[in-house]
């Protein structure tokens, strides 16, 4: 709980057990949220397919460094991207992976920088960003995480605060 750095295998676990799993379990709820741009109710399904592809790359990856794990995840997401949401997700993590390029371990500050880099990469790939989408959520999360990081350097508390700020 007082851990200062995230290792490659921890990041892999965050992606697999945390992110991918909860997305899979909540795919129906996200489907129900889908009203834009085309209200087809398939966002959850699309994101689930995309992140599953990302997760399977992570499983195969070298987990000795965070950079390798993040790159594998970004690659898997890119290859398996489905729908608008999947493409956006892949861009968020492409930027995230670029933001921690070459790093073996991750402290809170570089985590926040990588998060921010993910958001700006994702925003660059669209001509007319429409607010109120997942992009806005990502942007606000990154901004909020940055504020929290200024005073909280312990991971457990950092993530707990970041995840409950909405």
């Amino acid at each position: 709980m007082t851990q200062k750095n995230i290792t490659g295998s921890m990041l892999a676990n965050m992606v697999l057990a945390g992110g991918a799993n909860s997305l899979t379990n909540n795919a129906d709820r996200i489907d129900a949220l889908n009203v834009f741009p085309v209200p087809m109710g398939d966002t959850g399904t699309n994101m689930n397919l995309s992140i599953t592809s990302g997760a399977s790359e992570v499983k195969k990856s070298d987990q000795s460094s965070v950079s390798a794990v993040a790159n594998a995840f970004a690659k898997g997401l890119l290859m398996g991207a489905r729908g608008n949401s999947g493409v956006i997700l892949s861009q968020l993590f492409r930027g995230f992976a670029k933001g921690l390029e070459g790093k073996k371990e991750l402290d809170i500050d570089s985590f926040v920088i990588a998060l921010d880099n993910g958001v700006s990469t994702a925003y660059k790939a669209v001509m007319k960003p429409v607010e109120g989408t997942i992009l806005t959520v990502a942007k606000d999360t990154a901004a909020e995480a940055q504020k929290i990081a200024e005073e909280e350097k312990r991971y457990y508390f950092f993530f707990r605060k970041s995840c409950t700020c909405f």
Binding site: A81, V87, K98
Partner: protein, 120 residues
């Protein structure tokens, strides 16, 4: 060129310009699109991004018998899954045209005229 819709109370005529503007407007809201390109692009091999008033240069509307077909010329962002972006454009343009004009589209053909690498 224009498209005529026969309604019970008369005929509604929609010019191709209108369809092009709506289709283009819907397309540029799609994630992964950098812009619309001209159909007759390529001055020195560089696809130019069209401004909103010129969208018709990058959208071709064809009517064959009762069916409407659309060709769209777009520029996408590097590092995205381009096949998926193209597919998103198709479904979004189709949805928007049906919603705003009540126009059934038979096919939307996407031509990727360029891919833009964004420095970071």
């Amino acid at each position: 060129m224009s498209i005529e819709l026969k309604k019970d109370d008369g005929i509604v005529t929609i010019t191709n310009e209108v369809i092009a503007t709506i289709a283009g407007g819907a397309a540029i809201e799609c994630y992964g699109i950098v812009g619309m390109a001209s159909k007759n692009q390529l001055r020195d091999g560089i696809a130019e991004i069209l401004r909103k008033e010129n969208f018709a240069k990058g959208v071709v509307v064809r009517q064959e018998e009762e069916h409407v077909h659309i060709d769209m010329y777009i520029i996408v962002s590097y590092g995205t899954k381009i096949s998926e972006v193209a597919h998103n454009v198709q479904s979004q343009v189709k949805y928007n045209l049906e919603k705003t004009l009540g126009l059934k589209i038979r096919s939307i053909n996407i031509y990727i005229q360029g891919v833009r690498v964004i420095q970071d």
